[in-house]
Symmetry: C2
Subunit: 111 residues, 2 copies
C-alpha cells in the first residue's frame, strides 16, 4: 500500500470488530436501546464471559460505550451510524451472492 495505509488500517479495525455473528447480533440488539450484559446474555447461547469479551471488543473498536449503574453494566451504541453501516452490509450481502464452486466461507488458509 503506497498510500492510504493508515486509513485502511482504521477501516479494517472497525470491520474486524464487527466481523463476528455474535457481535453483529449485539450491535443489532443495542440499536434498540442500551442494555445490560445479563440481559444480552439471555439471548446468546454462550458463556457470560464470552459475551463480556465480545462487548469489550466492540467497545475497544469505539463502537460501544458502557456505563456502570449499580451492579449492572449497560452498553450502548456510540453512534447511530453503525446501524446505517449494517444496512449497507445487508445490501452487499444480498447483492453479493457468491457464485461458489465449493465454498465461499473461508477467509484464508483453508485446507
Amino acid at each position: 500500500m503506497t498510500d492510504s495505509g493508515d486509513l485502511n488500517k482504521n477501516r479494517a479495525r472497525v470491520l474486524k470488530a464487527l466481523a463476528h455473528p455474535t457481535r453483529l447480533f449485539l450491535v443489532e440488539k443495542l440499536n434498540e436501546g442500551e442494555c445490560c450484559v445479563c440481559k444480552l446474555v439471555e439471548h446468546i447461547n454462550a458463556d457470560f464471559s464470552t459475551v463480556s469479551r465480545h462487548l469489550a471488543v466492540l467497545k475497544n473498536a469505539g463502537i460501544l460505550e458502557d456505563e456502570k449503574r449499580g451492579q449492572l453494566v449497560f452498553y450502548r451504541l456510540r453512534c447511530p451510524c453503525v446501524l446505517k453501516f449494517i444496512k449497507c452490509i445487508e445490501e452487499a450481502v444480498r447483492t453479493l451472492k457468491p457464485k461458489r464452486k465449493k465454498q465461499a466461507g473461508k477467509v484464508a488458509g483453508e485446507e
Copy 2:
C-alpha cells in the same frame, strides 16, 4: 443468538473478508476498474503469493470476480455496492474515534 443467526453469519463472512488493510486497498484499487494481479502487486509491499491469496479471499466472499486473458488474470469488483459500503465504513470510522485504553475522564466536547 436465538434468531437471525444465519443472517449474521453471512454478514460476518463479508465483513471478515473486507477486514484487512491490504484487502481494502485492493477493493479501492479495483473500484477504479479491473486490474491484473501483477499490476496490483506493484502497489503493495508484499509477496506475490500474499496478494494472490488476498484476492482469493475477496473472490470467495463474492466481492470480486476474475477472468484470465492470455497469461494475465484480471480481477474486478462484482458489484458497485461495495464502494458505497466502503463509504459507510468511512463515515463510521470518522465518527467512531476509538477511545484510548485509558480514559481518565470525559471532558465535554472532547474530540
